[in-house]
């Protein structure tokens, strides 16, 4: 059973009285109690029982839900970039990272993780390159300007594709991102931001969706990434986000076949904190820049327990096996 969150006014833009609440969707034939039913865009509330008995029955509701899960994009399937790892792709709506959408990437701690989040972002970009070949330019907006172009070649991305924009404030970064999303010739827009409030996130998400074009348009859209860089601790929790997905990347110790002391491929723990149309999850992956692919990290099997990292709230690495997809039970 999965949990769907509906946002006020987002999914059903035509229906006035949609409340921001959760509805449980039965997997098979379970009754929805009257009064707890879904709302449809056209006709207001659908009574659970009538919906089940009506034409199409459960299938109609499922179709409706599928549409919600695709992020409100009516009529056409949202293009995706498969991440090349079954466990990840299965967890994402549509079987890959949705294109033409806003994705947020954050680190565990402030500046120490700037390299880690950047590494993950570049990994996603090179997967994006697989899905949408053509070498379209990538707009990179930052306040610090410390991206090191010579290293990009090592990530399988041609540095000449990058347009580096130096902004002076977060507001300018966001403005430039929105401008970039209007230009359909770009492949992706990456903005390094200190914070992304709900309104800004929503603007960017809508702009990214608009870049997909109308129905029947074959465009792959422009995908936006907001890379969080915090320079002071966030006081009042994390703002709710309007992005399609939000990832947290945490570094994990690498392993090298050659020996203990060599540095292996980068290894990250990915937490999918939220994703519209998918359940949150957590994976431990290894990124192979030569093969341009993720693989599941054989999780810490040959290390003594006491050397394990302290964070363990809901990580998958407890068991010693290969696996590691993880879903929140509801």
């Amino acid at each position: 059973m999965s949990l769907l969150f509906r946002e006020k006014g987002r999914v059903f833009s035509a229906a006035a009285p949609v409340a921001g609440r959760a509805a449980a969707l039965p997997e098979s034939g379970a009754r929805i109690p009257p009064g707890e039913g879904l709302f449809s865009a056209e006709a207001g509330p659908i009574d659970g029982l009538t919906a089940l008995r009506g034409p199409g029955g459960l299938a109609a509701i499922r179709e409706q839900v599928r549409r919600i899960e695709r992020g409100g994009l009516s009529g056409r399937a949202r293009p995706v970039a498969p991440l090349g790892l079954a466990a990840l792709d299965a967890a994402l709506p549509g079987g890959g990272l949705p294109l033409g959408a806003l994705h947020e990437i954050e680190g565990e701690r402030a500046e120490w993780d700037d390299g880690v989040t950047l590494g993950f972002c570049l990994a996603l970009l090179s997967r994006l390159e697989r899905a949408v070949p053509g070498g379209a330019p990538i707009l990179w907006i930052s306040r610090q300007g410390d991206l090191y172009p010579p290293a990009l070649a090592g990530q399988g991305l041609a540095p000449a594709r990058f347009l580096l924009v130096r902004a002076r404030s977060d507001a300018e970064v966001l403005w430039a991102m929105e401008e970039g999303l209007r230009c359909r010739r770009l492949c992706a827009v990456v903005g390094e931001v200190e914070g992304l409030d709900r309104l800004a996130g929503r603007r960017l998400q809508l702009a990214a969706e608009a870049s997909l074009g109308a129905q029947g348009d074959q465009g792959k859209g422009v995908t936006a990434f907001a890379l969080h860089r915090r320079f002071r601790p966030l006081r009042q929790g994390r703002a709710a986000s309007a992005a399609l997905s939000r990832w947290r990347v945490t570094a994990a110790q690498s392993q090298d076949d050659l020996g203990e002391t060599f540095i292996g491929r980068p290894r990250w723990r990915l937490d999918l904190l939220r994703c519209r149309g998918a359940a949150p999850g957590s994976w431990q992956v290894e990124w192979d820049d030569a093969a341009c692919g993720f693989s599941l990290a054989s999780a810490l099997c040959d290390r003594p327990l006491d050397a394990q990292p302290r964070r363990e709230p809901r990580g998958p690495e407890g068991a010693g096996g290969e696996l590691v997809g993880f879903r929140h039970a509801v």
Binding site: D114, L118, Y148, A151, G154, P159, A160, L163, A252
Partner: protein, 487 residues
């Protein structure tokens, strides 16, 4: 010295004490030549509302201090109004308009218009009077016009004028019968040249204060405007006109300059650049949208000019013939235009040079291994740049982020040449679990600057801490620095 002082009997060169004795209520202001020059330059810039060819007099006569000296009769501005007078209702109307506006600013101005610079200069200073401040010399009449004036009207050196005075040459017409062979040994070649220039026998060019734009369109307002909407409309009109002119010439603008002449006599300028030559009025208008709020109309704008200060060749583009057949091609063409337009929009708001593309530099010093070039090169350049990057040495050993300058860290290594066992960066202690290195990088020996040759070699290590984060550290002369972060 103003008109009242002149009436009181003062003249330039008079000692201050005597002047005070003559006029007890005299107000004196210290002479500030530089401030004067600045004000004059500003006035010359303002005069560009009449014609782009303007220059302050002092600059024109560099080396020959004419104004400010006793023979000058005041500072001046030269305007070449060839072909401009009809825009203002004729030559006399132009002069009167100019004079009236300057009087409005509080200047006592006299104006003269003639075929030659020399003649106009002389007439303005020696023929125009306070009562008749505007003098127009008809074409070809400068000989007669100059005849009754004193020789100093010819922009001569003070000692030449004195000499002429002693020889009894009191009027310019006295010089007419003398030929160059007689004049040159006595008065110098300059006097001969000045006379010839004033009479139009020798050409004299005006070098304008700021080079005028080759393509310029101008909008005069019936009365001063200050409403942003009106200004926006005027810019649209100017652009439409300018782009038409550019299209006829087969060129596109790389840089535009919008000048607003405000009613208080000051100027406002907006400059914008484009990454590629463009004569798309719509696109350029959008670029101005970001900039226009910075234009302060003050008490109103009287004239606006828009000049293409930098242009480049731009071939005619094939326009689609029909909408049905051309949608795909049109879309592609629009798409191709998109990136430069985006770059322009971003640069318009974030500042020129905010949008850049990395270019490879062949250097093993990490900080110098790339350069940022202005974005918007053509595609041929891009492919070459792509090939260049293939040659980057060890891209995988380079950090994803390079700190602007290496930050010193406290590091502890077990043996002198070993990688650090732990280090403290930004007050946090990191235990090093894995390390690779060293990679020794020396300064570039072919550079001669002191700093470079004195820099100790750096031993770079890639290290991973207990949490799995990776850093790029180096040791130079026994000290440790953190230079970059890996993914």
């Amino acid at each position: 010295m103003n008109a009242a002082a002149e009436r009181g009997g003062l003249e330039p060169g008079l000692p201050l004490a005597e002047a005070r004795a003559l006029l007890p209520g005299l107000v004196t202001v210290p002479h500030a030549p530089q401030a004067d020059a600045r004000a004059l330059a500003a006035l010359a810039a303002w005069c560009a509302r009449y014609t782009p060819w303007t220059a302050p007099d002092s600059e024109h006569d560099a080396g020959l201090s004419v104004w400010g000296g006793p023979f000058s009769g005041g500072a001046g501005v030269l305007l070449d109004v060839t072909g401009c007078a009809h825009l203002f209702g004729g030559e006399r109307a132009l002069l009167e308009d100019l004079q009236a506006r300057l009087a409005g600013f509080g200047y006592t101005a006299r104006a003269a218009l003639a075929d030659t610079i020399g003649c106009a200069w002389a007439m303005a200073r020696h023929a125009a009077t306070t009562d008749h401040p505007c003098v127009v010399v008809m074409p070809g009449h400068q000989r007669a016009a100059l005849a009754p004036l004193p020789p100093r009207a010819l922009r001569l050196l003070p000692k030449t004028v004195e000499l002429m005075d002693r020889l009894g040459l009191r009027r310019v017409e006295d010089l007419y019968p003398l030929n160059a062979a007689v004049m040159t040994p006595r008065f110098g070649a300059l006097a001969v040249r000045r006379l010839a220039q004033a009479l139009g026998q020798e050409a004299e060019a005006l070098s304008p204060q700021s080079p005028p734009a080759a393509w310029l369109s101008r909008q005069l307002f019936a009365e001063p405007v200050s409403d942003p909407e009106d200004i926006g409309r005027a810019v649209t009109l100017l652009l439409a006109h300018l782009c038409g002119e550019l299209a006829r010439a087969g060129r596109g603008a790389r840089q535009l300059e919008l000048t607003a002449y405000r009613s208080d006599g000051s100027l406002q300028r907006l400059t914008l650049g484009t990454s590629r030559p463009s004569r798309d009025a719509k696109h350029l208008r959008r670029l101005f949208t970001e900039k226009l709020p910075r234009l302060d109309p003050g008490f109103g704008i009287e004239v606006m000019t828009l000049g293409a200060t930098l242009t480049a060749k731009l071939a005619d583009q094939q326009m689609t013939l029909s909408h049905e057949g051309g949608t795909a091609g049109q879309a592609a063409a629009e798409g191709a235009k998109d990136i430069p337009e985006l770059v322009d929009r971003l640069a318009g708001r974030l500042g020129n040079g905010a949008v850049r593309a990395p270019r490879m530099v062949e250097s093993h010093v990490p900080e110098r291994a790339f350069a940022l070039a202005p974005a918007g090169g053509d595609d041929a350049n891009d492919t070459r740049a792509n090939d260049d990057w293939q040659k980057t040495p060890h891209p995988k050993l380079r950090p994803l982020r390079l700190l602007a300058r290496p930050e010193p860290v406290e590091a502890l290594s077990l043996l002198p040449d070993y990688p650090p066992a732990q280090f403290r960066w930004r007050r946090v202690l990191h235990q090093v679990v894995r390390a690779e290195g060293p990679e020794r990088l020396l300064g570039e020996w072919w550079r001669t600057d002191e700093e470079e040759s004195a820099a100790p070699p750096r031993d770079y290590f890639r290290v991973e801490d207990a949490d799995g984060r990776r850093y790029w550290l180096y040791r130079a002369a026994g000290d440790w620095y953190l230079h970059g972060l890996f993914g």
